[in-house]
Amino acid sequence: MIFTVVVHASPCQNAAPESALRYCKALLSAGHTLHRVFFYRDGVFNGNQLISSPPDELNIMRAWQELAEEHSIDLVICIAAAIRRGVLDATEATRYERDQTNLAEKFNLSGLGQLVEACILSDRVITFGGQG
């Protein structure tokens, strides 16, 4: 089956991203297809390249990257949510006249259309969110 996983919450303050990651790994282990992970609202912070966890803690950004690497997963961050929150790739940094970027590799900024397209093409869509 084709799955899409949606993440609404920031890491650190919320267990939802880690639940989402475990869910993705489990569905891949079961032989299903993960069409896309879509990060919306404070979920965009999952793709902040500057996250620097202590060595004995999970770095969720790196964990998503490893998942994408191993299984060629499409990690899409909602561009409108990301810009407002300050998660920028080089293109957006130029557009907004910033000289730094912080979007982690393997993540891509794109529109909400990628969420709706994923809903159309997937058999199952599951959202991991928190309060707020």
């Binding site: 609404h8 639940s19 790994k25 489990a26 079961a30 199952r124 959202t127 991991f128 969110g129």
Partner: protein, 95 residues
């Protein structure tokens, strides 16, 4: 069409559970995840409809110290979460 409902908030969020339970159809399943696993505690579980099919993620229950306090048959592994996702026609997340 059947639905798998997930709920991830602790029992002080009574309204969330009420809305969730009110939206269930007879063949639906409720899966408690993250802080939602505290609903397995006897006193909370007793407030939920007896006929309701309830499961909870073992990982989240174990992390929170709940395994000695709750019924073993209610706990499922991650692979069963995926099975339930496949067996139901859709998933609704309550948070």
């Amino acid at each position: 069409m059947t639905t798998l409902h997930t709920l991830n908030q602790a029992p002080s969020n009574v309204n969330l559970m009420q809305s969730c339970v009110g939206s269930l159809q007879p063949d639906d399943t409720l899966l408690l995840i993250e802080d939602g696993v505290y609903w397995l505690l006897n006193t909370h579980r007793a407030k939920l409809p007896a006929a309701l099919k309830i499961k909870a993620l073992r990982l989240d229950a174990q992390a929170r110290g709940l395994t000695p306090l709750v019924s073993e048959v209610d706990l499922i592994e991650m692979d069963e979460f995926i099975n339930l996702s496949v067996l139901h026609n859709k998933i609704v997340s309550w948070f």
